[in-house]
Symmetry: D2
Subunit: 314 residues, 4 copies
């Protein structure tokens, strides 16, 4: 199979509707700007469309600096036909409180938004609208869309991204109401296997590890596979396998590219000690931070060691 390159991607799906933070992430991806963009109602729907080749890539949220891992994405990537991450985008998260024209802040009795957004404006709400009733919506943009549509709506105001409020012609009652002003969400661009970005020297790799058994010290053993080859983890998330209470797999990001020697040996080591290793791609880091290989773990160290071993064996 000829590997696809990033420029072969033309139809991009994303977690919609228009006006979500996910669309902002897709807009920030150079290669998607002049291509087709297709909103989906859920992460699952977007990834299913990708698996069935309806689209070429999908932008989905994977991690929020306040709320943590996005379970729907983590689980959808960990099971089903294999997909791979080919890029990541960091988007600062800014929330506004918006309403139809003419609704003063003092009259707001109910607020609609996505549960994750609600969690991130909790303090602001407690001070400014302590008695407001919360109404969950399927996305932040959906709360704006509901307010934007003519007719009745279940709530007086919505919490969403500024762009969603603007899209729907809503009035901003309060801006930047997130409890954590530094909140950032990390999105990943996912594609089908066969697309592997070139190493840049500032890369990340994502895997899901399924342990052979839940024996004591199992996780320690997995982490040693990284440590002994000088590979740093940047995210570790445990996710239930669903088989039984206490049965977990681990979703892990670490520094380096599958083409790097130390990453290759680490992956082989994990493959040998795990029941299963799901490779979810190697891709350039959004922050561009280069991970200097620890002494003795650079590619040339591996090459020198291999040469030496070959001489011993011959």
């Amino acid at each position: 199979m000829t590997p696809r390159t990033l420029s072969d991607l033309h139809r991009f799906g994303y977690l919609g509707p228009r006006g979500t933070f996910t669309q902002m992430a897709l807009d920030a991806w150079d290669g998607a700007r002049h291509e087709e963009q297709v909103p989906f109602g859920s992460v699952d729907a977007a990834l299913d469309a990708l698996r069935s080749a309806e689209i070429d890539a999908a932008m989905v949220p994977i991690e929020n600096s306040v709320e943590g891992g996005v379970s729907a994405t983590l689980d959808a990537l960990a099971t089903g036909d294999p997909l791979v991450v080919i890029g990541e985008v960091l988007v600062p998260v800014t929330f506004v409180l918006c309403a139809r024209a003419g609704m003063p802040l003092g009259s707001v009795r109910s607020v609609g938004t996505h549960p994750h957004a609600w969690a991130q404006v909790r303090s602001w709400m407690a001070s400014h609208l302590p008695d407001a009733v919360y109404v969950p919506t399927l996305s932040t943009a959906a709360s704006a869309a509901a307010l934007g549509r003519p007719g009745d709506v279940m709530f007086d105001a919505g919490v969403c991204a500024p762009v969603a409020a603007a899209n729907e012609g809503l009035e901003i009652l309060a801006g930047d109401i997130g409890d954590n002003r530094a909140a950032v969400t990390r999105f990943v661009l996912v594609s089908r296997p066969g697309t592997l970005p070139e190493p840049t020297g500032a890369d990340k790799t994502t895997v899901v590890l399924f342990q052979r058994d839940d024996h004591a010290g199992g996780l320690l053993e997995l982490l040693e596979q990284f440590a002994v080859r000088g590979v740093n983890m940047t995210r570790l998330e445990s996710r239930p396998t669903g088989e039984a209470m206490g049965s977990y797999c681990f979703s892990i990001d670490f520094e380096g590219h599958v083409q790097d020697a130390r990453v290759g040996e680490t992956l082989m080591g994990l493959r040998r000690v795990c029941a299963d290793v799901r490779f979810l791609g190697s891709y350039p880091r959004a922050d561009g931070v280069r991970a200097d290989a620890r002494l003795g773990t650079a590619d040339h160290d591996f090459d020198a060691a291999r040469l030496w071993l070959e001489q011993l064996r011959s």
Copy 2:
């Protein structure tokens, strides 16, 4: 302060409304059966009431065998005034599809339920109601309550526990529709510090660990504190500290009681190498499984070692 005992608890809060799995968990707790039970609209609200001494204890969900950790609970316990877990309850999760009398399955166009429940009936819905629109509600019981109230409702059917459907006099369109029949949710009974259950020999301890810095191998170092004293972890969950993308703390359950010698030394070790350790209680395991201390890590081994050291030092 005289420590409270479990029999000093009389007002129990829980994540309501009536008919939730959380209420089922509270019903399963012997000491709460004949006491006052107060529903709360959110985990935060229940724990706030506990902190302000409005109630004596609160039952909240902490972990689901399919959906993983319950972020709201993990985060509420990890911050704010200290609380401690004093017991745990495992509840099998069984979902029914219910509706007002006279609504046949074939006519259902929209379904309301809590997002976590929706995630757990996804496959059943895809086969039986592929075109149904999903409407999020604040809890599974809330979907039943909405259907039970006279007047209009946003959806035709709800997904909830059998007891919630019964409470509201609804008809069961389909029973046991969960994708994973073995799904279990784990609930914890939380109280204020000062209540510490006695060791039973089959106990668990819960902590939150904040690393001193996010250096490579930091988690490995923490796990070694457990391993070297023969203490097994049963759950490890990473949660963002909120400070920056990639900054995580670890919510950990492990075998043993704070009064056990090996647990005490492990906790002291963690305290020394962590920026902060939040102790969230020692309590009897719901499954009653006794963790046999590994050779050399029983209390009498610690006692013998201490005696020996004292002799060396004198």
Copy 3:
């Protein structure tokens, strides 16, 4: 260079003189029985002759179950032109007290033997000849040889192998006088690089590791290179590098053959983290014990992992 095979070896050196335990080890080596055998006055002399191609192989003692590692051999192998171990022999150590005809045990006032042998008959001497003066000799056989030669001698009796006493026509005053009846000495047959025995499934490999710096935890880091690939050590000996007090290298034997995948990766790992790794050969174990590869560390596990990685990378 065409590799030499074991049958290409015709001139065998050994730590002499005739009658030493080392000669017994050489006699136990099938391939040496009908070949030339050349005694040397010291381990250094034998290994120098091997390095200058005067002989094809040399049998030297490396480890005694009572006295420990043989420093002269360990140090001679760790420095100078490279040599490799190609086989090992275990010889039970049995000491006799012998003298010229007509010397009764009661008249023995002085005893000659090698210091290592003296250390191993200490208790017997303390009970039976508490007042005997000890006279060191260059080998156990040398004490017999001195008694066997006409003329004066510095001592009345010698401690040596039965064969040495027989060679010299001496009388046995007491047999099997070793304090530890189970004492065994391990000898290695050494050759020049280019001779590498085939893997048998029951092999050992010997290396000398020089650390990059004497940092804390340095040895721990080396041992983790073995542990993470499921390779067991069977001997670890620290030897001073001679550079400064406290500067040590490690002479290590471990299970497996350089051709085994897990040994190859372990060696490459050591090579990367050490200042230097000196490979001292892979050879069949004298005891024939097969080391079953731990789950996930057999050659086919490595092959499967490599194939998998290649697919990921392509």
Copy 4:
């Protein structure tokens, strides 16, 4: 038992005869200068005299920067009635070649000295006296003593410390002939339990560890007991237990004093995982180097952690 202090020691034994490096070490020990000094013929004899209270302390060699550990001392301390190290002395090792008056270097046909000394002048001998026959003696000083006595002697010249040659009125044929000019020998002052030097902040502790079984990774497990409490090893020597080939115990020096909290916990940890731990004393380092406790492992960190644990438990 009232602990003895260093000033209670009046009779000092040492590995004699007069003129050995061991006597030089004893001379360097302030507290021994004006006290009785008793030479013994072997390390065993000196330590036996100490055990039977004939003497109060004994100075014996334990480690040489070129030749490594002194087996006789390591083994004598590891078995028998307990003894403890109460101090250490470093002595630079300088060898001279000496002979009776009138013997020119060119006429030397045979050289007597202790095997360890012979090993350390090997290169000098190979260049200057390549044909000289080597005659082992019981100590370096014994070779000088033999030459100093009237009558026949087995060799023409001796290798010993300058002081031994001077004691016997011998002529120096060549000075400073050691192959390694930086060679140093480390001596320890040993006493009976009951004498424990105060912590100075620059201390060492010595132990012998006997593993519970020779399982794979056993040594790794022991080293982790040190690592997890931030304790650095300065010497690790494996010594056969004598029970079987491959059965070893470990003689280990590490930084810190038994009264230090991190050392105490390490010792208790070792005691729990080992079949036996033999404590061989805590004493000031000869080089005065202070080991700064790693972050989180100072005594006050342990105190703070213990206080915290006590609060949790109450």
